[in-house]
Subunit: 460 residues, 2 copies
């Protein structure tokens, strides 16, 4: 008869302790395959337990397949592999620790300390009090949010968009994943060179080929695009990252004609275009697309915070039908709570207020940063090129050092730099010796310090 | 000289109205390519505007590539395609309207009306008041959340997991997307047949082949698995959807040996296993995996709400290293705010309390539903099979009607049914005439009504 010291069970319920004892004996081979267990009544009497306790243990063993029953004969041990020793704990590779920088010019991130967190919190409390955050929403995203986005695009960018065309996604990378699936693995996507590397990374993970296309001062080179065999193009015509180039109207028309002739799709990735410091916003390519070739996409990472993971795309009718047919099974990846809050933040006018405040704030900051660079000890050896928009500018260095040497010297001084050459697959000299200066995080009060640190990095 | 009626500008700023007038003339061909614009001073005088206004309009036109400058000669019109007419508004396919059902037994969804929304709201207010929700978190997810998940897995399932192994994702489908990329397109994934169709859909979208493997009462058939050429298997050993089958310990050991011999990966998708009504939780396959072959994944869709879009996976060391190397560039797709709140909900013990309350609630509901079925007019013609877990059970009908005829009859009466045959690619008779009854949304007070409606649907 099975004998176990039930008093050793610690805090476990009796049935669970008994289950564990029998399980151990089965796994060690002490109870062999085919062996019959004592009847519930007999074991209960033997161990001074209730029949219900033994029944609980036997049921659990049966549910997990350690024992089986034969009608009117009782419980029998199943054949299992004997486990001689407890498994050794696995060695887990430790979490990589991100380095701490004295100065980080590579981080292209808005300063979220200026975000109206109190307003966001108030709107969140409002939504929470209404309880609707537990009700799942439509797969393309909450209609109220899509309408608010369509209204915002009309008001701020003159775009005509219907809420039906909008698909909400959990940030730019998630939207790239959806786009890769929408375009399909057989497609060839032309991407900007230089350009944002994550776009290529995501497409390639999906097996979509990418063709880097060089840029000139008007935008993507049409001859290279035509020769590339691309079936789609992914670009940022309103503010290219990191050069800031704005695609000219002539080039836009050429792109649209190319897309119509080739039955191709244009992805207009409107990354980092909101902070334009002079004049009016550049009209979206989508707004002059009469052939339904353009997918417009944007996120709130640069304007609210990258911690939000919210973005959207606007699909032309042809792709909207394909999306619903082929990808409509994906539930919207953004929590319903956050969708409700963003909808109110947009439709309440808080987003536009925030943008206009930040535009002034960043213009002041940019002016201070540019002034500091121009009066720095290395001012004679740098050429700044900036297009009056975005939270970064390019700084070309007159130096004999190559980018890698400069990077290493900077790192040894606790400074992280970004180089234009990192954004390109093209080894051209034109892209060397050029820093991408992301100034969104540079506090005006620390500029003097920043400049003397940079003087050390850039010393000849 | 260009002449425009500046008084017709409506609410537009002067510079913007002037920019629009000139742009229209360029696009219509009234201003031809190569033509020189009047000097800023001359145009300002002519239209009685300030030079700054004209400068604003010219700068905007230049930024968008409608005009260009030649040093000391002024502004010239760029060649653009003439646009004869305003684009017609596109016809947007209307949003599909989901049908409204009198009774929906196909919806496998927890009843979120019982969720402690007030606690969730309080924790959210707490996080909002601390401001940290605007600070981006690590790509694998907030460490505090990953620790809370590891602790919960230890306490409730006896799993030994380090927070470093946990990757947070925006719901099951997003995790499937990551897994498809982690396994790679050259892999062949064995999936359960019958099984959850979205798993196959997501893998296939990514180009990963799926091989449906039949199940018997012990779980996935090992001979079919071995013959399939699969390099990975995706299954729900603790509670198969929709049959409820629990993979036996012997079969689990066979799976692990297969994975070790074949250098294969096992995805343990622990979908809908939390609500087990008798005994203790089934130990995870991951907890007996000494070879590091198992990825464990789960979400909070069934236990909190599908509106939350939060889940996680636990990677064994080998795949964790690959994940960091190849997919570490993906930022965590869940908003930081929601991650903080879930971390507190877990570590504060609220999740466990909620599960235990809901387990009782669903047991009562299930008992009432089963009793109602057993005393229904059609009780003599149905066989119920259920495994004491999950928010659904199988109901085999003694009927001459095929599933499609039954479905249509149900729909005409406003009833949505789910059939086991929908979950399978196998046309076997064994899967016919079997309803998957999702009872999570059936209110006990409406059971009598539900039964008479079903009696009508199932009438001979």
């Amino acid at each position: 008869m099975l004998t176990y010291a039930m008093e050793d069970r610690g805090g476990l319920p009796l049935y669970e302790y008994l289950y564990r004892c029998i399980r151990r004996d089965i796994l060690s081979g002490a109870l062999a395959a085919g062996e019959r267990l004592p009847s519930k009544r007999a074991l209960a009497e033997h161990l001074r337990l209730s029949v219900i306790t033994v029944e609980g243990a036997y049921s659990q063993l049966e549910a997990e397949g350690y024992v089986y029953t034969r009608p009117k004969q009782g419980f029998f041990v199943c054949p299992v592999q004997q486990v001689p020793e407890p498994p050794r704990p696995a060695v887990i590779p430790p979490e990589p620790v991100p380095p701490v920088w004295k100065l980080d010019l590579a981080r292209n991130q808005a300063d979220s300390s200026r975000f109206p967190a109190a307003t966001w919190a108030r709107l969140t409390r409002q939504v929470l009090s209404e309880g609707s955050f537990l009700t799942p929403g439509p797969h393309q995203g909450l209609y109220a949010l899509r309408r608010a986005i369509a209204d915002d695009l009309r008001a701020r960018k003159g775009m005509t968009v219907s809420p039906e065309q909008v698909v909400i996604g959990a940030g730019a990378e998630y939207l790239y994943i959806l786009l890769a699936q929408l375009l399909g693995r057989q497609s060839v996507v032309a991407v900007e060179d230089p350009g944002y590397p994550k776009i290529r990374q995501v497409y390639r993970k999906y097996g979509v080929s990418c063709r880097p296309i060089p840029l000139d001062r008007q935008g993507m080179d049409p001859a290279s695009l035509a020769a590339s065999g691309a079936t789609a193009v992914h670009l940022s015509p309103n503010h290219h990252y990191p050069t800031g180039t704005i695609t000219t109207i002539g080039r836009r028309q050429t792109l649209l004609r190319w897309a119509e002739d080739q039955d191709a799709t244009i992805i207009e990735d409107d990354y980092d275009s909101e902070f334009r410091f002079a004049g009016r916003p550049i009209p979206a390519l989508q707004s002059i697309d009469t052939g339904g070739r353009v997918v417009y996409m944007n996120t709130y990472s640069q304007t609210i915070s990258p911690s939000m993971r919210m973005g959207f795309m606007v699909l032309p009718p042809r792709l909207l039908e394909r999306y619903r047919r082929e990808l409509g099974f994906y539930a919207c990846a953004v929590p319903v709570l956050d969708q409700h809050v963003l909808a109110r933040f947009l439709s309440g006018g808080y987003y536009e207020q925030h943008l206009s405040r930040m535009r002034k704030e960043y213009r002041t900051r940019r002016d201070a940063v540019l002034a500091a660079f121009r009066s720095s000890p290395f001012a004679g050896r740098v050429t700044i090129s900036e297009q009056g928009a975005g939270l970064h500018f390019l700084l070309r260095l007159d130096t004999a050092l190559d980018d890698e040497t400069l990077r290493q010297r900077a790192e040894s001084l606790g400074v992280r730099l970004a180089f234009l050459s990192e954004y390109s697959t093209d080894p051209r000299e034109a892209y060397a010796h050029t820093l991408v200066v992301n100034y969104g995080g540079l506090e005006p009060e620390h500029l003097a310090e920043t400049m003397s640190l940079l003087a050390e990095v850039l010393a000849e």
